[in-house]
Amino acid sequence: MVDSETNQSPSAPSFLPEGWEIVCGLEVHTELKTRTKLFCGCLNEFGSYPNTNICPVCLGLPGALPVLNGEALEIAARIGLALNATVQASIFHRKNYFYPDMPKDFQISQYDIPLNADGYLILPSGVRIGIVRAHMEEDTGKITHLGGSSGRIHGAERALIDYNRSGVPLVEIVSAPDIASPDEARQYVTELRAILIAIGASDGKMEEGSLRVDANVSVRPIGESEFRTRCEIKNLNSLRSLVRAITYEAQRQVEVYTAAGEVLQQTRHWDEDRSITVALRTKEEAEDYRYFPEPDLVPLEPTESWIGGLRESLPELPRQRRLRLCDLVGLDSANDQIETAILPELYGFVDAALNAGVDPKLVVARASNELASLLPIPDGYELEWFSDLCRMEMERKLSSTQAKAVLQESVKSLTPPAVVRDRLGITQLDDDELMIQIKSIVEENSDEWTRLKAGEMQLKGFFIGQIMKKTGGKADGKIAAKMLAVLLSED
């Protein structure tokens, strides 16, 4: 990434002192959208009453054994394929350490031979981020810290454990340390999240913890090839936290080096309230996970035909969406409107409208401007309502001003746009009537009309304004302009 001519990394963030760059890799844990857990038939469900989705397996009772959820395996492999990784033969390992939210006191995970290896993800900017691996593992239960005087960790009197989440399927996606700025980290997570949602792997809800990000951050002087000591930052549960935490941590590390100090390898916690990263109280014991192959599960040996079938079943991915939209609206590269239109929350509407044959430019404009301003779109606002709205505008049954108003009300009241239009008493002038109105305006302002005809083009705006005034906004500005032009050329 370093341009040797100028010795300045193109992506070195401006908030760091000159000459320093960030080396960042992200570990993203995503919960998979299955009906049941990874190794048992308990429901994979967020928000249930504590300890209601539990059984001998996910509670780690003596004698219970895991059996792999085939759907989770398929989703995990689809993630690998969507990230251009190799889906390969793999085995599960046990990662042994004591923690009360982990019922067996080991986590079933994949270690030296993960299901997916060596992939990559291309950011909207074109930067390619390597994917080292994407492996399957089980989630832990949840601990609630009770009591104590000084905060939620220190001095807690009691901890309560709910094992509903224990055994929920996870895929851990580990990027290469290819991320050079907080903004690239944000782009990476955004794109990854969009991919996961697109392929039906995850609901991508960072706020519910179904997408969790840890950042490994180090800094180094530009030109240095060795990696320096990194810190792992946990508790990044929004894109905003991610950006701010990496920014803070990189600055902190540069300051440490600048003061001739040493950065210690640490796990640090992003403290949102104080906007700083703090070192977690380190466990006394050195980490020694004593990995060994999980003897209760048998090896996975995906066949070519199985992988081929999954590959074929992959839907259109965000990158393809981006290229497709650019193509449809005639852009060389995506602008902000395109990026917004392909967001997972909006793209379903865009795709439906495009399939319904609506003008792509109009679809992108309404989605990225109006619909995006109404996020989150409530459940119950139907996909085809957006198509219908765009079509009504395209067919000039609504002016653009009216279309925006109808869209807003349609989303708010969860009502089809045609009904909203009628309810609001909106009628669009038909072209003949509009022409009659325009002609009468021309007659009423013959002086200005003569000057316009003589070449005083700025008077166009005056006439459009008059038309809008006279029609009470019912006229479509663009159509009105066209009609004016026709009249001008006629006389």
Partner: protein, 492 residues
């Protein structure tokens, strides 16, 4: 007393005797014997009689009852059954009543069996003498001064003392076959994967198999037919096996090639060796072709086993942490609670193996120990496979000695481990093997013959076992210790 499982099932199914009667007989025998034998850790009289009553009601209603109708069975106390405590003979599980039943238990019950109690074992099945139980050792019914073997010593003793005709044990390195041999009963370790492990508290997951104890080969055949088969709760359970075992009785031995494993004869007592040779001779007479075979790889079995089993155990036993079930000794924080609970709850041998296994897996040692041991497993499997090119099945001693005295080996773990040398290789290879009572030594202590077969070779293994049983005259070996005999028959 002393009826076989198949006899009982027939009597109950035909309505000539009641299941309740047999259940009460077994419960009474437990009550009379347990003071000196200590074969059982718990019973649930009400539950047992209720279950037996249901069988009788079905018979009375003319409903079809299963192949084990009314047969009283005992379960090694590392298998879960709703309504019975499961302790694994450990203080750490004292009072734990599992909310689910093991697959084998469900299968036995579905065939009409009536569980009468949970039997003693070495804590978490770690041992070869049942001396490592937190609730005191089980005695050998043949000689109360001696161990019954282990770790399934309670199940072996319960069958040998004719308290029940059938019991289940688990075999990780010989824990069914060795106590069967030392108490003079039949004991079977099936091919790995043939019997579901769901509900068996794991010792070493890659080696554990559940199997039956009985006084006749036929009863073990019947029991294994019942408990084997695919289980969707156990990923390692095999989906292709449907054995016809009972029917192997009396099938001729003509042309069957049987090898005596040379390496397993090394270091065995002379009387044990003599028994194996005598059994070989009988098999020859029956038409088999018997010869010696060498499988040098098996010499590595002990070392590999004492790496793999403790390593897996150290992980399997991590969950006994005082959080969700069983014992808790509370400390000021959770880590301290884990430490206090485990330190107070586990016995010496369990701690020793957890330590050994943790060490063998810890960073820097994995390749030298666990990794190597896993490769040795492959070598041993290959060694057996080579032998099975020339032989259809193998025989050997089960244990280098007959039953030993209490405390004799307790102070030296390695010496105790060495007594598993003939049984361990089958667990590492995943192959089936069983112990068939054949004779007794000069002190009247039973000697069993081990029959080994290739993976899924259970049918041939049982055919040979039936032949050995017939040539030995059948009926087990060694008579009950007079002191036990007296309490068992006292008041009758």
């Amino acid at each position: 007393m002393g009826k076989s499982a198949s006899e009982i099932a027939e009597l109950v199914a035909s309505g000539r005797r009641s299941a309740v009667e047999f259940a009460e007989e077994a419960l009474d025998a437990i009550e009379r014997s347990n003071g000196i034998l200590n074969a059982f850790l718990s019973v649930n009289r009400d539950l047992t009689l209720e279950a037996a009553g249901r069988i009788d009601a079905m018979v009375a209603a003319g409903e079809k009852v299963g192949r084990l109708a009314g047969v009283p069975v005992a379960l090694k106390d590392n298998m879960c059954q709703i309504g019975f405590d499961t302790t694994c003979a450990s203080k750490i599980l004292n009072g734990w009543s599992p909310p689910y039943s093991a697959t084998v238990v469900q299968k036995m019950i579905a065939e009409g069996a009536v569980t009468v109690g949970k039997t003693n074992l070495d804590e978490f099945a770690m041992g070869s003498s049942t001396e490592n139980s937190a609730f005191g050792p089980t005695r050998n019914p043949i000689d109360l001064e001696r161990v019954p073997g282990g770790s399934s010593g309670g199940s072996a003793a319960a069958v040998a003392a004719s308290i029940v005709p059938l019991a289940l044990g688990s075999d990780t390195g010989g824990s069914i076959r060795q106590p069967a041999s030392l108490t003079g009963v039949v004991g079977v370790k099936p091919t790995y994967g043939v019997v579901s492990r769901y509900g068996l508290v794991a010792f070493a997951s890659s080696l554990d198999q559940i199997g039956p104890f009985s006084r006749t080969v036929g009863d073990s055949a019947l029991a294994l037919e019942v408990i084997s088969g695919w289980d969707n709760m156990d990923s390692t359970s095999y989906d292709g096996a449907k054995f016809s075992l009972v029917s192997q009785q009396g099938v001729p031995m003509d042309g069957v090639r049987i090898g005596i494993v040379k390496e397993f004869m090394d270091g065995c007592d002379e009387e044990v060796l003599a028994a194996v040779r005598a059994a070989a001779e009988q098999l020859s007479k029956a038409g088999a072709k018997v010869d010696e075979v060498s499988i040098p790889e098996t010499k590595l079995g002990l070392s590999a086993y004492y790496i793999i089993a403790p390593a897996e155990a150290s992980s399997n036993l991590a969950r006994f942490d005082g959080v969700r079930f069983g014992l808790r000794v509370e400390g000021s924080d959770i880590a301290e609670t884990n430490v206090k609970t485990r330190t107070a709850g586990f016995g010496d041998e369990v701690k020793r193996r957890i330590m050994l296994g943790t060490y063998a897996l810890s960073s820097g040692y994995y390749d030298a120990y666990y990794g190597k041991a896993q490769q040795v497993k492959t070598m041993i499997k290959r060694g057996f496979e080579r032998a099975y090119r020339d032989f259809d099945a193998l025989i050997s001693p089960v244990s280098p000695t007959t039953a030993f005295r209490f405390g004799e080996r307790a102070s030296n773990p390695l010496a105790m481990y060495l007594s598993d040398v003939c049984t361990i290789p089958s667990n590492l290879a995943g192959h089936p093997a069983m112990s068939v009572p054949f004779s007794a030594d000069s002190s009247g202590l039973p000697i069993g013959i081990q029959v080994l077969a290739p993976a899924l070779g259970e049918e041939l293994m049982f055919r040979i076992a039936f032949s050995i049983e017939r040539s030995s005259g059948g009926g087990g070996f060694g008579s009950l210790d007079p002191a036990l005999e007296e309490v068992m028959t006292g008041g009758r």
